[in-house]
Symmetry: C2
Subunit: 324 residues, 2 copies
């Protein structure tokens, strides 16, 4: 059995580093997750990354399922898998995520790490990377719909990306919780809390949807100008945070062209019901991070959708491991 | 970081048990691997097991690949993944295998374990399970072709399955190595070393092929009687230890009907070139371990082919973990 002693350097002793959520604070604070994501997609553009499709395995006897996110990163000499089970219980379901990081040089495991918080961080940083690449330089108003942990992570990763004049937050929960409102306002003086999604998005330059909703949380027409709208995944079947039909009136981007269109709910529904097709996707994060990146056109609104990729999980796990 | 102390019970402290190859001796010796495999396939027959397809992911820049074996076992309340990389080097390639075992109840990891030796043991025990279920009760002569670690594991798991009168071993290596011959003979007095594969299989009741050969290692006609022939996987493309054409003259079984025919070299080639089809497979280990098992017919020879399954890796990892 491997004895783990924080006084030993596990990288030197050959031991496997095992980190729980409580251990992560001290390592996560040293990491620029957005920069790691940008490097990872730039490496992808150079052929140094392989991203297999995620796999969903049902548990026997209707006991839930688990999703496996895999990736191989030649530039960091690592590969691995994140396993994320969904376990129904009498109360709230149990959802966890753990990553096994392995060396592409020795074939040995390097890190076993609780990846709940890492998943949140890489998801928000991936959206932030899209904002960095796609939002007009002169963007002034940022709106965040959904103010849970994932919404807050989005806020933190996008705070400095543009010279925001106003940062608007909206969620049903936040409207009712003055204590939480004060906590958000303490982060940045430009933050305002809105009474409705409609008011929050009006004339906004960038709208980040950070909910676990299975149906639209905003009407894109309520924005009233060209904007960048970002949207993330949740585990509701065919989940979509905007009306699928709206894809036809926007420039559509995603995290990975090869897998996102078959998984993102609004893309699946837009293709089925509204004459949209995956071929209309302008580009993905690899295209945006390549040496000759796609330049966004600003003649209509832009929609960016991520489903989350194994290479992001492996990259952030490596960034944690590399501190040992 | 989790501190691991052999004086604590990791199952009680919530720590993840991490085991290297050197740690395994003391735990492996307590396990009846054949019995665990039989229970696992019996559970599969009852719908308590889910076996997704294995996935192969190429490393970037032609640096090798890794195979992921996954499984979920409701009867043991565990699921997980074994990652097995193949890393070419200037010398011999590096091949490792590590399993992450997780709880289906808590969603937390339980064990991270070197699975090189466990893979060998579960492979041999799976063949032994087929011998137990398929070899005629009165079988007298056992032949093993290939006498490396995997061949020796096959020997150990089948020694007591029938009242063998003679156990014949053959490999090119063994013929030349008198010291190794003596070591084998010391295991059991019924063991004889043969000069050729042809002599070794002649009038044998059970022939276990335990090589990493990509092409036939015996001519099934050299057996000269009805026999049970077993064959395992190796990582050579379209590897086959017998002539693919021979499938047409035998009753064919495998470890898992849903995945083996598309992966086993002689099945792929027999289907492509010799008019054989996967529909001709009589049954798999789940059929043989079900409450109403298929009874083998002895009107012609029987061929059993395994490719190795994730559920076997998860089951043996659980058997190790359950000792903590």
């Amino acid at each position: 059995m491997i004895m783990q002693n924080p006084n030993n350097n596990p990288a030197k002793t050959g031991a496997v580093v095992t980190l729980t959520d409580a251990d992560l604070d001290q390592y996560l604070k040293n990491i620029d997750v957005l920069s790691i994501m940008e490097k990872t997609f730039a490496a992808f553009a150079k052929g140094q990354v392989v991203q297999p499709s995620q796999t969903l395995t049902l548990f026997p006897e209707d006991r839930g399922d688990f999703i496996t996110y895999q990736g191989a990163l030649s530039h960091f000499n690592v590969f691995g898998a994140k396993l994320s089970p969904y376990i129904p219980t009498a109360g709230a379901p149990i959802i966890t995520a753990w990553t096994m990081l392995m060396s592409m040089e020795t074939g040995l495991p390097l890190l076993l790490c609780d990846s709940g918080r890492l998943t949140r961080e890489r998801t928000a940083a991936t959206t932030a990377l899209a904002v960095k690449k796609l939002a007009p330089a002169e963007s002034k108003i940022l709106t965040i719909i959904g103010t849970g942990a994932i919404g807050k992570a989005h806020l933190m990763h996008t705070l400095k990306l543009r010279d925001w004049q106003e940062i608007r937050l909206y969620s049903l929960d936040l409207v009712r919780d003055t204590e939480k409102q004060q906590a958000f306002k303490a982060i940045d003086s430009r933050i305002v809390v809105c009474d409705s999604a409609k008011a929050a998005v009006h004339l906004s330059d960038v709208v980040m949807l950070c909910t676990s909703s299975g149906k639209p949380v905003i009407d894109v027409n309520d924005i009233g100008k060209q904007a960048l709208i970002t949207s993330i995944s949740t585990n509701v079947a065919q989940a979509h945070e905007i009306d699928p039909k709206a894809l036809n009136s926007m420039h559509v981007y995603c995290d990975y062209k090869a897998t996102t269109p078959a998984s993102a709910g609004e893309m699946v529904l837009a293709a089925r019901d509204h004459g949209w097709s995956a071929g209309k996707i302008v580009g993905d994060l690899t295209d945006l991070c390549s040496p000759s990146p796609i330049k966004p056109a600003y003649d209509k609104s832009i929609f960016f959708r991520s489903i989350g990729l194994g290479i992001e999980d492996i990259a952030i796990a490596y960034a944690i491991y590399s501190q040992f």
